[in-house]
Amino acid sequence: MKFYCIPEVKNEIEKLLKKNSYKSLQSELYCFFDGVSNGEKSYQGFKLNCSSPNPFYKKRIEGRGGYRIYYYIIEVKNSLFLTALHPKVGKYGKSNLSKEEIKIAQKRFKECFEKEEYFKIKLDHQKKEINFNNNKEQDS
């Protein structure tokens, strides 16, 4: 499976990683994507939509005080698109995304997908980290 994220999520991850209190995000995301790429069904979480070939999930990573990620799986492209992410605690923490915030993330994903404005997420297995590549640069 290939992994992507919309620009807002890339910016959010980069913002969070600048703070020491969110350093665990890097390894948590790596573990999540690594698990999925190893064929685990670990991408399943709470399914937000219904009866679609492209499921939209919310997943908890690192339990209670950790992070929440939202993503669409585009089955025919065997791809996962991160559409929203937030920590539960700390300076940028929030308890949950509201319905309106989820709808905004969904709308942005649609726009970014149609314009191919998204970033590819690559796994660095040596450092156990994730990196971003501009999708268009990657494909050219």
Partner: protein, 154 residues
């Protein structure tokens, strides 16, 4: 004779004498008593473990519930409502227990277990909120459904 004793030494003598009697009355700590206290702590820890496992099961079942396919008919909606109602009842019970624990000093005896219990209470609450929002807000929202339909063709 008493007049020759320093009054503060006399007081000390009395205090220590009384304490000695009290020590005898309280009894000594032997292995049996120590095991009794340890058993009580262990019982409390096991009690929390059972509750933690129950909460994990409820949270996991709620997650599975969101994976069901197909539109919600009236009967299924009623069943989902009932499930959420029961889950909220379970949560309320656990929250009350957490309040009792937090109002006592027992957390100091097994802090990790109490912390796990607290975590699981919060996760269960989040699971209930998520499930409720998914079934009764998001999947009933025309804008969300319309966009999802477009995305389903990607």
């Amino acid at each position: 004779m008493n007049e020759l004793i320093n009054p503060s030494v006399g007081d000390t003598f009395d205090e220590i004498g009384e304490s000695s009697l009290m020590v005898r009355n309280v009894g000594t700590l032997d292995k049996e008593k120590l095991n009794h206290y340890l058993d009580a702590i262990s019982e409390f820890s096991n009690f929390l473990n059972v509750k933690i496992q129950l909460m994990k099961i409820v949270s996991s079942q709620l997650e599975k519930l969101t994976l069901i396919e197909g539109e919600l008919d009236k009967k299924t909606t009623q069943v989902v409502s009932s499930i959420l109602h029961i889950s909220k009842g379970i949560l309320t019970g656990f929250k009350k227990e957490l309040e009792v624990i937090e109002g006592s000093n027992i957390e100091g005896l097994c802090p990790e277990k109490v912390s796990s219990f607290r975590n699981e209470v919060e996760l269960l609450e989040e699971s209930i909120d998520d499930t409720e929002m998914i079934f009764f807000e998001l999947r009933a929202d025309s804008e969300f459904l319309a966009l999802d339909k477009i995305i389903s063709r990607f």
